[in-house]
């Protein structure tokens, strides 16, 4: 195995981005395409090669730490610039560069009409670099660096249309919530440095069982989870992700669905040695995941903006992964992370074809009946909907059921969470089929479409086709009672994971098929059978709908309880303390000085003997003071 490959994979996207950024003027579009997509695809191919090489190794030899230089030695803490290449990081690299390549190819066409073509690819390349750094880092410090840099890339791309105030505001919100998460992780790192004297993964995991007290390990894991929750949009730090949909759709697909937002799951799996020592933190993680997946699913049912429906579904699906990770089913969490990357990227890209075809319209109210015009997008979206709903045989079916079955086996708490997860699976089917029906079937919207829907060309269609195949068949790499490729692959990192029992499998299978059927049927009955029915039903459940449309008023509470008071305090400090108190004090002192100067003018009588007298008495006074200080 050649760890240098990992450095090349990491460096190429950055090189492409830097070249684009340094280009003296807007380069020709073909050049931008080459510099944008080229490094991405090469990175993917090299990652695939690395994967093949790793397959040839014994499972004990699949972990390599590649160090290039000592970054810092401070006090007795030493930190290297180093990458950890192991099955977990290679799996993440495959997802990031693989799905990333497809989305980059798609973007060449999607962003064709945009003025800032070069900036788009430069920022996307920077994102991929940061994400790879995040998954490849061999210590907590560079994990945090990658963590923050993906946040920066996400900030830049959410605010890509920087002349639009909502985009700018959304970018800022995402950035600040992520800074809060970063800081929690930084504090966790403080604890590790102080208690263990190292930030190196392997050394920390080795020393943790003896070196960290019970309280310290719970604190570290909870703080790391705060970082994970901020990045992965878990309640209560989730409010930035729906707003992040202000970014271009390929950005939403890559960063806010397939890769960056799942970093929290990666983090928990990466540090599972610590979570295994921290039962309370693990329960907190699982419960947070369950709460999130349920709340987000309910909110998704009433969203009108297509991208926001998908955003809430992303939050909900990550909730499943986080729940699994909290319950110790790390393999299941990573499995769902991978299949989710396929079907969620597929959904965003196929819905992106619709948005592109309608020249930017995103509201469900401006859609309907599009299946007649955009057949390819219709089929692709339908496949994505089947996969995310967990219709048997699709990718989401296998991975989601594995999470639920693991929950069933995980004690009393697990049973409760199983119930929540199963219920939400039905809601998921409901809102996804709602999205499908309201977009593609039924009559055209009143007033018609803004523009005539345009089908997409091959650079957009081809990646969507690949993702559709993966969403349909990608789940077959791990089949209950059949084979367990994901768990086998990850074994060197997460250890031998127990497989859910037969009872759990069967109960989950039956339940999930039933709830998905009910959810899909309900959506069909409300939105597809009779076009007038949604209007007739609008009068029911007004208060509930209102609450869901307000997204349980998290934003409102934060504004009232945190942002508002802080701003008032700052305003008060600036207006009163700075201009009033501190400044007033000084002005007072100055006028006092002026006044005494007037008095002292009398002393300035021009007589040398007065001056000499004053000088001598001053020296004597000073000397007396010194003598007093010295002798006491």
């Amino acid at each position: 195995m050649e760890p240098a490959l990992a450095w090349i994979v990491l460096g190429l996207p950055l090189l492409g981005a830097a070249t684009l950024a340094a280009w003296p003027s807007e380069p020709p579009r073909s050049m931008t395409r080459v510099l944008g997509v080229g490094p991405m695809v090469v990175s993917f191919l090299l990652t695939a090669w690395l994967y093949v090489q790793m397959l040839g190794e014994n499972s004990d030899d699949r972990l390599v730490v590649s160090r290039v230089w000592e970054w810092i030695e401070i006090g007795d803490l030493s930190i290297d610039v180093a990458l950890q290449v192991d099955p977990l990081s290679v799996m993440m690299m495959l997802v990031v560069t693989g799905v990333g390549s497809l989305i980059f190819i798609y973007s060449t066409e999607y962003m064709e009409h945009d003025r800032d073509y070069r900036r788009f690819f430069a920022e996307m390349g920077f994102f991929v670099f940061s994400m790879l750094l995040l998954v490849l880092a061999a210590n907590f410090l560079f994990l945090i660096v990658g963590w923050a840099l993906v946040g920066l890339a996400s900030y830049l791309l959410i605010g890509f249309y920087y002349e639009k105030p909502p985009a700018v505001a959304a970018a800022k919100k995402a950035f600040i919530i992520n800074v809060i998460g970063d800081l929690a992780m930084v504090i966790a790192a403080f604890i590790l440095v102080v208690e263990l004297g190292t930030l190196n993964y392997l050394l920390v995991f080795e020393a943790a069982p003896d070196g960290l007290g019970r309280g310290a390990v719970e604190a570290v894991t909870i703080l790391l989870f705060v970082g994970a929750a901020a990045k992965s949009a878990q309640v209560p730090l989730h409010t930035w992700l729906p707003d992040a949909m202000e970014g271009p759709t390929p950005v939403s697909a890559l960063i806010h669905a397939a890769t960056m937002v799942t970093a929290g799951v990666y983090l928990i799996v990466r540090t599972h040695e610590l979570y295994e020592l921290a039962p309370y933190a693990s329960d907190l993680v699982a419960i947070t995941g369950a709460v999130t997946l349920f709340l987000a699913a309910t909110i998704a049912t009433v969203q009108v903006d297509v991208k926001r429906v998908l955003a809430w579904s992303t939050i909900s699906q990550i909730g499943y992964m986080i729940m699994a990770a909290g319950l110790g089913a790390y393999g299941a969490a990573m499995y769902h992370l991978m299949t989710h990357a396929f079907f969620k990227a597929l959904l965003f890209l196929s819905i992106g074809m619709v948005i592109h075809g309608l020249a930017g319209a995103q509201s469900l109210d401006r859609m309907g009946g599009l299946g007649r015009h955009l057949k390819f997008a219709y089929v692709a979206t339908a496949i994505g909907v089947l996969a995310i709903s967990g219709v048997p045989g699709t990718a989401g079916f296998f991975s989601k059921d594995e999470i639920l079955a693991s929950a069933w086996d995980a004690g009393d708490l697990g049973r409760v969470l199983w119930l929540v997860g199963a219920l939400a699976a039905g809601i998921t089917a409901f809102y996804m089929f709602r999205l499908l029906f309201r977009t593609f079937s039924g009559p055209e919207p009143e007033g018609g479409y803004g523009v005539h829907p345009q089908p997409s060309r091959w650079p957009m269609a081809a990646p969507v086709a690949v993702l559709a195949v993966l969403s349909l068949w990608g789940g077959w790499i791990q089949v209950p009672r059949g084979w367990t490729w994901i768990i086998d692959w990850l074994e060197p990192v997460i250890g031998r994971e127990s497989i859910p029992g037969q009872q759990a499998e069967l109960v989950t299978l039956a339940t999930s098929i039933a709830v998905v059927a009910i959810g899909a049927a309900a959506a069909w009955w409300i939105f597809a059978v009779d076009p007038a029915r949604p209007k007739r039903l609008a009068g029911r459940l007004v208060a509930t709908r209102r609450l869901l449309e307000d997204q349980f008023r998290f934003d409102h509470v934060y504004d009232r309880a945190v942002v508002g008071p802080t701003r008032d305090l700052a305003e008060y400090l600036y207006r009163r303390m700075e201009s009033g108190f501190v400044d007033g004090l000084v002005r007072g002192a100055i006028s006092l000085a002026r006044g005494s100067a007037m008095g002292l003018r009398a002393a300035q009588n021009g007589l040398v003997r007065t001056y000499v007298f004053v000088m001598i008495s001053g020296v004597v006074g000073l000397g007396a003071l010194l003598a007093w200080v010295v002798t006491r």
Binding site: W71, G75, V586
Partner: protein, 534 residues
């Protein structure tokens, strides 16, 4: 060749040369740039030749002047001060280049004052003697007084008055403290000296130590400034020409923190220990207060100025933690803050080229017309808010790690300042750069070749530190460990955290108790042995 002396005197000589009447503007520019450039080059050569593992001063240049009064010229550098010399000479050189392109009125005088100010700062950072330190501390004020008073904008008279009064309030007690230190030390060691390294290890009583530390600390706290001694800062930063503001914020603010780690903490460990919590809490208040006020500040300069108050709070926290990691982080952060804040003020200067005023809310959307500037500004903003991966993050991370080791809650509360930094820096960046374009002629703002000359060294230095912080941190370990060791002992820290032994002055076997009759050199050395032998 006495390099350190030459580094200090070269700008001073150039400043005097410019004072010759009838110097033409072109001559003045050449002289100024040559002197500053040569001085910078010499600092670079010292940096390369420095022994990075040594704790004491190197390249020491010591000449006795009035030996009876122990007056001398003594300068030198170590792994801490070398970076401040590099920062000072580099920033002033860049400032002079920027000035040459946009010359102010009475340019010759301006250049002379800048050079004199540089000499003052260099001398301060290189001083190995308390009197030399004090002279440069005071002398530095004169050129800055004129720079603000003569080339400043509206409110400059008030600003200079305030600046001078504040500084004098601090420096007079410091003068008293310097004299008292020397005299008290003479009583214990029998030798009058102002040499800083010789005063270390002198055992002052706790009361003496406390009062002497207080005398120094007040001057340092005003200079930094530490909240609530920052009253002079907004006015001075507002009134001074932008290049001068950049030098004030980037370099002069380091005089105070440098004094703390060079003189205050190592010489008066008991006093420093008594004030540790007070100063740390004040620094913490400054971090949060400065960040909040920066968020609401109406102009770009004020915003960056108040952010300085917050950032310097981190440095003070790091020094007062008496922790090697935190101390090394603090020294690194002195350099980082200098680079970042200088770049920020220079960028504000560029923005002012195309705007009517400095008000944040009256401009917007500059990025569309000035994309290159937007990239550089974003880079600097990210460094200012210390995003992980930036140079400033390295400094803040290790400062807070060290603080966390001893005062968990101070470190945790200080992180609030980091969140607020993101809030105010994004306010600055986004309102100026993003949104619909108005209020600014962005074509006039876009980077020009000369702007690259001035900004790229700063950006390049930030990148180098981010990728390889060991370059700076590696040389600070021994001097920082030596500087904090006495205070660590005073604070009763575990032995494994203390790296350097404290050498008492005078050595214990030669120590006559205060009030002992025989002067030190008459104590018969064998007497100790005689007592021990029977």
């Amino acid at each position: 060749m006495p390099m350190v002396t030459a580094i200090i005197l070269l700008p001073l000589a150039a400043a005097l040369a410019l004072a010759i009447p009838d110097t033409s503007r072109m001559q003045a520019r050449i002289i100024a740039l040559l002197a500053a450039g040569l001085s910078f080059a010499m600092v670079v050569s010292l940096t390369v030749r420095l022994d990075r593992d040594a704790a004491g001063l190197q390249f020491v240049d010591q000449h006795s002047w009035v030996s009876d009064a122990a007056l001398q010229w003594a300068v030198g550098v170590d792994g801490i001060s070398i970076w401040l010399l590099l920062l000072t000479s580099g920033i002033v050189l860049l400032g002079l280049i920027a000035t040459a392109w946009r010359p102010p009125e009475r340019e010759v005088g301006f250049l002379a004052a800048m050079l004199a100010g540089e000499a003052g700062l260099l001398g301060l950072f290189a001083a190995a003697d308390l009197v030399v330190f004090y002279i440069f501390w005071e002398a530095m004020l004169v050129p800055f007084f004129f720079l603000i008073g003569m080339w400043g904008s509206e409110g400059r008279v008030f600003a200079t008055t305030k600046f001078i009064i504040y500084t004098m309030v601090g420096s007079l007690p410091m003068l008293v403290a310097i004299l008292a230190t020397a005299f008290i030390a003479q009583d214990t060691t029998g030798q009058l000296t102002f040499t800083i390294s010789e005063l270390r290890g002198v055992s002052f009583t706790e009361t003496q130590s406390t009062w002497l530390f207080a005398g120094f600390a007040l001057a340092f706290a005003i200079k930094v400034p530490v909240w609530p001694f920052h009253g002079w800062l907004p006015d001075a930063y507002r009134a001074a020409p932008l290049v001068v503001t950049a030098v004030l914020a980037a370099v002069m603010s380091k005089a105070g923190v440098y004094g703390l780690i060079r003189i205050g903490v190592p010489t008066f460990p008991d006093g420093a220990e008594n004030f540790a919590i007070i100063l740390s809490v004040l620094a913490l208040v400054g971090i949060i207060y400065g960040s909040l006020v920066a968020w609401r500040a109406p102009t770009m300069r004020m915003l960056v100025g108040y952010s300085s108050l917050a950032h310097l709070g981190f440095i003070v926290l790091g020094i007062m933690a008496f922790d090697i990691q935190a101390g090394q982080g603090a020294v690194l952060q002195m350099v980082n803050h200098g680079l970042v804040v200088a770049a920020a003020f220079l960028i504000i200067g560029l923005i002012n080229r195309g705007t009517a005023g400095d008000h944040i809310d009256r401009i917007g959307g500059i990025a569309a017309g000035a994309p290159r500037l937007a990239v550089v500004f974003l880079f600097v903003s990210m460094a200012a808010l210390a995003i992980p991966g930036s140079n400033a993050f390295v400094g803040e991370f290790f400062i807070l790690t060290g603080v966390f080791r001893h005062h968990v809650w101070i470190a945790v509360l200080a992180t609030i300042g980091v969140v607020l930094a993101a809030v105010y820096m994004l306010r600055l960046y986004q309102t100026a750069m993003n949104g619909p374009a108005f209020g600014a002629n962005s074509r006039a703002i876009e980077l020009r070749p000369v702007d690259y000359v001035v900004l790229s060294p700063l950006v390049g230095a930030m990148l180098v530190i981010a990728l390889w912080p060991a370059s700076i941190v590696g040389s600070t370990r021994a001097p920082v460990a030596q500087a904090v060791a006495p205070a660590q002992i005073a604070a009763e820290r575990p032995a494994d955290q203390i790296e350097r032994p404290v050498v008492p002055n005078p050595p214990p076997e030669a120590l006559p108790l205060p009030g002992d009759e025989p002067p030190i050199d008459e104590v018969p050395a064998p007497a100790v042995g005689e007592e021990a032998s029977p």
